[in-house]
C-alpha cells in the first residue's frame, strides 16, 4: 500500500513540475496587442433561404401565404440567375436586387429589403 501511495505521490509531483515548467515557458501575452479581426467569410447563395426569408418578411406585413409564396418563387428564381451570372456578390447587392424585383409586386415588401441593416 505504501509503495502504491508513494508512486501516486511521485506522479502528482511530476505533473506539478511539468505544469510549473509550462507556466514558466509560456510567454506573457501583450495586453494591448491588437486582436486580429476576423475577415468576413464567403457564403454560398441559397435560393431556398432567400425564398423562406421573403415569405417570412411578407408574413410580417400580413400578406397571405399563397401570394407571398408566389412572390418568393418568382423573385428567388430571378435572383439566383443573376447571382449565377455575376459570380460573386455581397449581401447588400442581393438585398438591393431583391428590393428592385419586389417593387413589381409589393412596395412595402421591397421597402423592407431596401432598409435591411439600416434601422439602427
Amino acid at each position: 500500500m505504501s509503495t502504491k501511495q508513494s508512486s501516486s505521490q511521485d506522479k502528482a509531483q511530476a505533473n506539478l513540475k511539468q505544469a510549473k515548467a509550462k507556466i514558466i515557458k509560456a510567454k506573457p501575452k501583450r495586453i494591448l496587442a491588437r486582436t486580429k479581426k476576423s475577415k468576413p467569410q464567403p457564403l454560398k447563395f441559397s435560393k431556398n433561404d432567400l425564398t423562406k426569408d421573403i415569405i417570412r418578411n411578407a408574413k410580417v406585413l400580413g400578406i397571405s401565404d399563397k401570394v407571398s409564396a408566389r412572390y418568393a418563387d418568382n423573385v428567388s428564381d430571378r435572383i439566383s440567375q443573376w447571382v449565377r451570372a455575376r459570380g460573386i456578390v455581397t449581401t447588400s447587392d442581393i438585398n438591393k436586387k431583391v428590393a428592385q424585383e419586389l417593387e413589381k409586386y409589393n412596395q412595402d415588401l421591397a421597402f423592407i429589403y431596401k432598409q435591411k441593416g439600416k434601422i439602427i
Binding site: K59, Q115, I119, I120
Partner: protein, 231 residues
C-alpha cells in the same frame, strides 16, 4: 425653485424621448417577432422590452441620485453644473452633426459591431426575459447621450421635497418611454413596421434638430437657474 426643477425633469425627459436607439431596436424586435410568432407572443415580448428599458432608466436615475447626495452632500455645486452645461452643449452639437449617419436611412452613430449585435439579439429573442434584457441593452447603448440627462435629472430630484421625488422619477421614466408606447399602440391599431420606419425616415431631420435644441435649451436653463441664479 421646485418649478424650475420640475421643468428640468420634464425637458430632460422630452429630450430623452427624442433619441432613436430604443425605438429602432423595438422596431427590429417587432420585425423579427411578427414573422415568427403569433401576435399575442409579440405583444408580450414588446411589453417586456419596454419594461426593461424603463427599469434600467429608473435604476440609473435612482443610483445617480444616491451618488450625487453622497458625494456632494446635496445638490451639485455651480462649478460642477457649469461643466455639465458644457457637456450638454457638446451633446447638442454631436446630435446635430453625427447622431445619424449620412444617407437615406435611420442608421445611428453606433459602431457597426454594436448595431449588428443588437440586430442579432432582436432576431433571436424568443422569451420574455430576453426581450426584457434587450430593452435594458438598448437603454445602456444610448448611455453616451443619456448619461448627462440622467445626472441633470438626479440633481433636480434631490432638491425636491420627498413627496415629489418619487413622482418626478416616475415622470421622467414615463416620458422617456412614451415613444415606445406610442409605437406599440400604433402597430396594435393596424400600422405596420414599414409605416413606422417610413415615419422615422421622413421625420429624421426634424427629430435631430429638436433633440439638439432640447439639449441646448436644457443647458441654457441650467446655466440661468442653477449656475447664475444660485451665485
Amino acid at each position: 425653485m421646485v418649478r424650475s426643477d420640475l421643468f428640468i425633469i420634464l425637458l430632460a425627459g422630452i429630450v430623452h424621448a427624442t433619441l432613436q436607439l430604443g425605438v429602432g431596436a423595438l422596431l427590429l424586435l417587432y420585425h423579427a417577432s411578427l414573422g415568427k410568432h403569433v401576435k399575442r407572443k409579440t405583444r408580450e415580448l414588446v411589453s417586456n422590452y419596454i419594461l426593461g428599458n424603463a427599469f434600467l432608466t429608473t435604476l440609473a436615475v435612482l443610483a445617480t441620485c444616491f451618488l450625487i447626495s453622497v458625494i456632494f452632500q446635496g445638490e451639485m455645486n455651480p462649478a460642477m453644473l457649469t461643466i455639465i452645461v458644457g457637456f450638454l452643449v457638446a451633446l447638442a452639437i454631436s446630435v446635430w452633426v453625427f447622431y445619424y449617419r449620412w444617407g437615406k436611412s435611420t442608421e445611428l452613430w453606433l459602431p457597426k459591431s454594436v448595431a449588428k449585435f443588437i440586430n442579432n439579439r432582436a432576431k433571436i429573442t424568443e422569451s420574455k426575459t430576453e426581450a426584457f434584457s434587450l430593452g435594458m441593452l438598448a437603454c445602456f447603448a444610448e448611455a453616451p447621450f443619456t448619461f448627462m440627462l440622467i445626472i441633470v435629472v438626479a440633481n433636480s430630484i434631490i432638491n425636491l421635497p420627498l413627496s415629489l421625488q418619487i413622482l418626478s422619477v416616475a415622470l421622467y421614466v414615463i416620458i422617456s418611454v412614451i415613444p415606445l408606447i406610442i409605437m406599440r399602440i400604433a402597430i396594435r391599431k393596424g400600422g405596420t413596421v414599414v409605416d413606422v420606419q417610413k415615419w422615422r425616415l421622413k421625420n429624421k431631420n426634424f427629430l435631430r434638430i429638436m433633440s439638439g435644441i432640447g439639449f441646448f435649451v436644457l443647458a441654457l436653463f441650467l446655466l440661468a437657474f442653477k449656475v447664475i441664479g444660485a451665485a
